[in-house]
């Protein structure tokens, strides 16, 4: 039972950044922009967040005495910087009608480069370590099993991300703006004909996407990378993209996908301690491969009934019908 609880808690910790970043990807693609830059936005968001936290921790201020508030502020800062960074993508692909895949790739290359340059200049190292590791918001070892998964050893980011996920998912499907946004990903000309500003909607989708990626980036480094920002987030951004496709561009699918991949990611490191896996005697590399192998298999199987937005990746041209 202890084993199971440990696995489930760790699954949640890995799943949270995937969940929120995949939803971010969903927002961009639903508005018609392929956001390949999720990884770069995560790196950038996490970097700025970690930089600010390091400054807060170094200065004797109000936030130093309230680490959970600092966590929340850092999440917000990361989100905003992710959103600002994503403006590069929306500017290139909405305004300039550039190829979205290439613009996204450019951002993915740019983010680690900015990170490394600044870190080497100021910290003599290609990583940024916070002075103090972010702490749990709640510790409660007395709780019964199901509650313990969520409310024992949980980070603030877990609750913030779940709340964001639920609210934004409902908003995307039930609100007027959300529907307008989705229409722009399916048939922008039709959307425009009923008076929806496609450019605005696409900017909105990509910016929300960048915000969520930034939040996810900070959630990742705070909860599972020991408060260390690096020039990569271990491919979590790309994995989130895969989860979005796996989840067929809809939030319920994304949630399931994130949990599945979170689970697969934590099986490897824990495999040596759980008798069931230990008895299988498989090398650790095998567990490291599984998540990516499953992505490939799922994509092969699910390619027929794809829920992919029809107009994604195409620059909007008013003249087309």
């Amino acid at each position: 039972m202890d084993n199971l609880l440990l696995i489930l808690q760790k699954t949640l910790i890995y799943a949270i950044p995937l969940l929120i970043v995949a939803l971010g990807g969903c927002f961009a693609e639903r508005s018609g922009i392929i956001n390949l830059a999720l990884e770069g936005e995560m790196i950038f968001g996490a970097f700025i967040g970690a930089l600010c936290v390091r400054m807060f921790q170094g200065a004797d201020g109000y936030l130093l005495a309230h680490p959970q508030l600092m966590f929340l502020v850092a999440l917000l800062i990361s989100g905003i910087s992710g959103a600002i960074f994503s403006l590069l993508l929306s500017f290139a692909s909405v305004k300039l009608k550039a190829d979205q895949t290439i613009a996204g790739t450019a951002l993915n290359l740019l983010a680690p480069a900015i990170f490394v340059t600044i870190c080497l200049a100021f910290f003599n190292q290609e990583k940024l370590v916070m002075l103090d590791i972010p702490k749990y918001a709640i510790k409660n070892s007395e709780l019964p099993f199901i509650l313990a998964i969520f409310f024992d050893k949980a980070y603030l980011s877990t609750f913030v991300c779940i709340a964001l996920f639920v609210v934004l998912s409902i908003w995307l499907y039930k609100s007027k703006v959300g529907m307008h946004l989705r229409a722009c990903g399916e048939h922008p000309q039709a959307a425009n004909s009923v008076g929806i500003n496609v450019f605005k909607m696409r900017y909105l989708g990509t910016t929300i996407s960048g915000f969520l990626a930034g939040v996810g980036g900070y959630a990742f480094i705070a909860a599972s990378a020991a408060g260390t920002a690096e020039s990569s987030v271990g491919g979590m951004g790309f994995l989130a993209l895969a989860i979005m496709i796996f989840g067929n561009w809809n939030p319920v699918g994304i949630a399931l996908g994130a949990l599945l991949f979170g689970f697969l990611k934590c099986v490897g490191p824990l495999s040596g301690q759980i008798d069931f896996f230990k008895n299988l005697g498989l090398p650790i590399y095998f567990y490291n491969i599984i998540p990516y192998l499953i992505v490939i298999i799922v994509l092969i199987i699910s390619r027929k009934k794809s829920g992919c937005p029809k107009a994604e990746g195409q620059p909007y041209d008013k003249g087309q019908r």
């Binding site: 202890d2 440990l6 910290f123 190292q125 590791i133 050893k153 990742f220 040596g272 301690q273």
Partner: protein
């Protein structure tokens, strides 16, 4: 716009001119994949060089090979060449990975001296190597932890099983644990892993693994590899009382959880060797030699200034250390295999040990 561009060009040119100024640095430190501020190996070496330079009015500068944790031999060669261009007369290179780069650059520059930390003889008269008896520090750390009363220990080692220094730490650690367990007549369990930390860096996987250990009752984990401490620390801080043993330098400042550190006297030995070099004793003492430093040279041990153990006192430690110096402790330094990331090696070791259960992951 044109004006702005021309201004920019002028600015860049001025910057380059400044950068190419006549300032030279006599002592250079070229770091390895762990990078300068790793709070351990590289930092300790650099601090030694800086301390010597300050005391003797020399100039000192560090060089970090390009590509950080993925630096290649070419990156290291370029960094060394750049150091020489900047006037380096002696280059300190921490890390066994520097061998290839050293052979290339040292052969090109017979007048420049090289100090190869964690190294071995490379057959060139302008290189001197320094190696440490890490098994002694590991032994002392393991022994102290068990004497303190811990019965469930762990150790995560960097270098992926092929780094001799880390392997010696691991081997000594287990021997120390076993010696103390036998002395107390207790049964002790120790988890050993070489899975994460090939480049001595922190990772989410390492953190997950170690928090699993603490969750299963492991009380203290030996974090053997510079920045790996970050992950172990994060895992420890998830628990109420998870403790850590640091490595290479006194890492007690990194976290309250660090009970002791298996140190090697990096800074001291760098200073000693630089001293011998500047006294003109290179040919006599150092050229193409390998100094193997241990307790007898005060180059291994546990830091007593920041002692945090309660049941095992500094006095007891000093007595143990004196025994070690006098050669009264039998610590094997013959590694059972070149690559220790092998369950068979650890099965073999556990067959020879009493009172100790080794769980290898």
């Amino acid at each position: 716009m044109k004006k702005f561009l021309s201004l920019l060009v002028v600015f860049c040119a001025a910057f380059l001119l400044v950068a190419c100024g006549n300032k030279t640095y006599e002592i250079a430190v070229v770091t390895d994949v762990g990078q300068l501020n790793d709070g351990g190996f590289n930092q300790g070496t650099y601090e030694g060089a800086v301390a010597y330079a300050k005391a003797n009015n020399k100039t000192c500068k560090y060089y970090q090979p390009a590509n950080g944790a993925d630096a290649t031999d070419n990156d290291r060669i370029n960094a060394m060449r750049q150091a020489i261009e900047n006037g380096a007369k002696v280059i300190v290179t921490p890390g066994f990975m520097q061998a290839t780069a050293l052979q290339t650059v040292a052969a090109e520059n017979p007048d420049v001296k090289f100090i190869f930390i964690d190294g071995w003889q490379l057959g060139l008269a302008n290189i001197t190597a320094v190696s440490y008896k890490e098994e002694e520090s590991g032994y002392l750390a393991g022994y102290a932890a068990v004497m303190e009363g811990y019965t469930k220990l762990g150790g995560t080692f960097g270098g992926g099983g092929s780094n001799a220094a880390c392997n010696r730490f691991a081997y000594g650690y287990v021997q120390g644990i076993q010696a103390a367990a036998a002395k107390l007549g207790k049964n002790v369990e120790v988890r050993i892993s070489f899975n994460y930390g090939d480049a001595f860096s922190a990772s989410t996987e390492l953190q997950t693994q170690i928090s699993g250990w603490y969750n299963k009752g492991t009380e203290v984990v030996f974090s053997c590899g510079g920045s790996m401490l970050q992950s172990v620390k994060a895992a420890a801080e998830e628990t109420e009382n998870g403790k850590i043993i640091g490595v290479d330098v006194d890492q007690s400042g990194e976290s309250e959880r660090v009970i002791t550190s298996a140190v090697k006297g990096l800074a001291a030995s760098v200073q000693k060797i630089l001293g011998e070099l500047y006294e003109g004793k290179w040919d006599e003492l150092l050229a193409d030699k390998c100094s193997n430093l241990g307790a007898a040279d005060d180059a291994t041990g546990l830091p007593t200034a920041t002692w945090r153990l309660k049941n095992f006192t500094v006095e007891q430690y000093n007595a143990l250390f004196a025994d070690l110096k006098a050669g009264k402790l039998s610590i094997s330094n013959e590694l059972p295999a070149d690559n220790m990331k092998d369950v068979l090696v650890w099965t073999a070791i556990s067959l020879l040990t009493t009172n100790t259960t080794i769980l290898f992951e």
